[in-house]
Amino acid sequence: MLFWMIVKVAFESLIANKMRSILAMLGIIIGVAAVIAMLAIGSGAQKRVLDQFNAMGTNLIMVTPAQMGVGGVIVGTRVNLKVKDAMAMVHKVDGIKNVSPLVNTKLQVKYFNQNTLTTIQGVAPTYFTSRNFLIGHGRIFRDSESDRFARVAVLGSVTADNLFGVADPVGQTVQIRGISFLVIGVLQSKGDQGWFNPDDQVLVPYTTCMRTLMGTINLGEIDVEAQDGQDIYKIQDQIQALMRRQHHLLGDAPDDTNVRNQAEMLKRAADFVMTFKVLLSCVAAISLAVGGIGIMNIMLVTVTERTREIGIRKAIGARDTDILSQFLYEAVVMSGVGGAIGVLLGCGASKLITVYEIVPVVTIFSIVLSITVAGGVGIFFGFYPAWRASKLDPIEALRYE
């Protein structure tokens, strides 16, 4: 019963000094709001990474040129993948389903008076299946078209909209770098991934792209789709060994290509996001600590102001622990209320902000964590003032003016 009276008095103290209470709680409010929002962004980023990779399809191994470095300093990316490397894989690596060479560039694509600057990807027909791209309208190109450097193109849904509006692009001709390409298909929409929109691109045979559009013999990437049930890592090792042979790398010269599977890339991205999340949380934690100091400050002032009251309470029978717990409750109420306000603020902020198309995800965990931590801050930082209060000599305290 005494507990409820103390909680009631705690709330009344808060309300009686609204301005002061709010100022004291501000640190906690902001700290908690920051924790909620930061964790929400972090969780949203994690979810996005997961979604992205799930959209990419499984069993995928990506071979890219390695970065060049001298003594740990990265100075650029190598240029060393050739079509014959891809061919070698087809013949010499076991357990693979298909191999897709890749190049890409960014060029203007024109249709009459409409034009758009977009990504042009030169791919093999197998790209569509290994990367889970579904055709919406029309068809994808064939190996025979790839072999004869055919000037055919498949548009992403957004690119099609940009150039053709509601008209049907299939059968029409677009100009890329002044060269006419026949549109043979439009992809189904996949959704903007943030830093890359798979709906805003043009896919052409890699052969055509390399010779006609880019004038290069170098590949940007080689995708390898493994057969189901294969040991991905074994295949990766085989590919790496093959690449070293193809590029005449001796002994312990470092690999000049990166051979990564989807799981690894997912892990790397996830690790990065986790670091990001931890960093953000540290910033928020500092804010909470500052908030706690604010509470300690105000509680010290409050205790001094209520010296007389403490003396009275002791005179009528309150023990040291009664006074200690009373003021601890008041500190916890203050930080608890601040925490609750902070949660509301943090949730509101999370709804409003979208950073790099990451949609923040507020979890129950972060709410429970924040309120618990806020309460803990109240106990920790409120302890010293409460202890001071409990140690007051009743005779001295009663004399206090």
């Binding site: 019963m1 009276m5 008095v9 003396g311 009275i312 002791k314 009528i316 029978g317 023990r319 009663l398």
Partner: protein, 240 residues
């Protein structure tokens, strides 16, 4: 005997010097007495009051309250004695401002851990005649009413004694008389009351007086004519 004080000594250090606040004070108080502890400023009456009220311990000597030696108790134990055995009334009421009169009155019992606190508090409030104001906060009450609330608070735990420190000091003379009358009423009902005051007129309402000077019990200096009227004198006068 509700109080037995023997050879109470209280000294403390003040800036390197030793102050003898109480110097070998001994007396007893019987159950149901109403006595005054009087003396000028610096006589040690506040110090004595603090020791009798278990707010402080004597440097030496013994103090037995309701059969229990409380001279050497720890702070926590003293607090417990205060909540169970002693009722304080102060000069400036010392009510907690943010809670109602009733909540003020029940506080000692709450600290004593009693679950029937509210019930006893209501009884005490009725005893001092403030039943109609018990849900008001102190700042909504007059000085006299506040002191009544304080008296109710002092009574709520059925204490061994009520210790009142200049209870009329902050009141006008009419209200002061009302409060003293209330004390006398309570005393007639059997309460032991100790009134600490410097005012001879206030002390005159008590049947017995302990006079302090320089930390010792002495005989009070001769007073102005118009000697103390005791209750027996008053009865005699009225029957003449």
């Amino acid at each position: 005997m509700i109080i037995k004080a023997e050879n109470l000594v209280k000294t403390y250090q003040l800036g390197g010097q030793t102050v003898h606040a109480l110097d070998d004070v001994s007396f007893t108080v019987d159950n149901g007495e109403m006595i005054a502890i009087r003396g000028p400023s610096g006589s040690g009456k506040s110090t004595l009051m603090n020791i009798l009220g278990c707010l402080d311990r004597p440097t030496s000597g013994s103090y037995v309250l309701a059969g229990e030696d409380v001279s050497r108790l720890s702070n926590n134990n003293l607090a417990e004695i205060r909540s169970r055995r002693i009722g304080f009334v102060f000069q400036n009421f010392n009510l907690l401002p943010r809670i109602t009169a009733l909540e003020n009155v029940e506080l000692p019992l709450r600290y004593a851990g009693r679950h029937d606190a509210r019930h006893h508090a209501k009884e005490a409030v009725q005893l001092v005649g403030l039943a109609d104001r018990m849900h008001h906060k102190p700042n909504e009450l007059s000085g006299g009413q506040r002191q009544r609330v304080a008296i109710a608070r002092a009574l709520v735990n059925d204490p061994a004694m009520v210790l009142a420190d200049e209870p009329t000091g902050a009141l006008d003379s009419k209200t002061g008389e009302e409060i003293l009358a209330l004390f006398k009423d309570l005393n007639r009902q059997g309460r032991t009351i100790l009134l600490v005051t410097h005012d001879a007129a206030v002390a005159a309402h008590c049947r017995r007086e302990i006079y302090l000077h320089d930390g010792k019990i002495t005989v009070p200096p001769t007073e102005t004519p118009g000697h103390r009227i005791t209750e027996t004198d008053a009865d005699e006068l009225l029957t003449i």
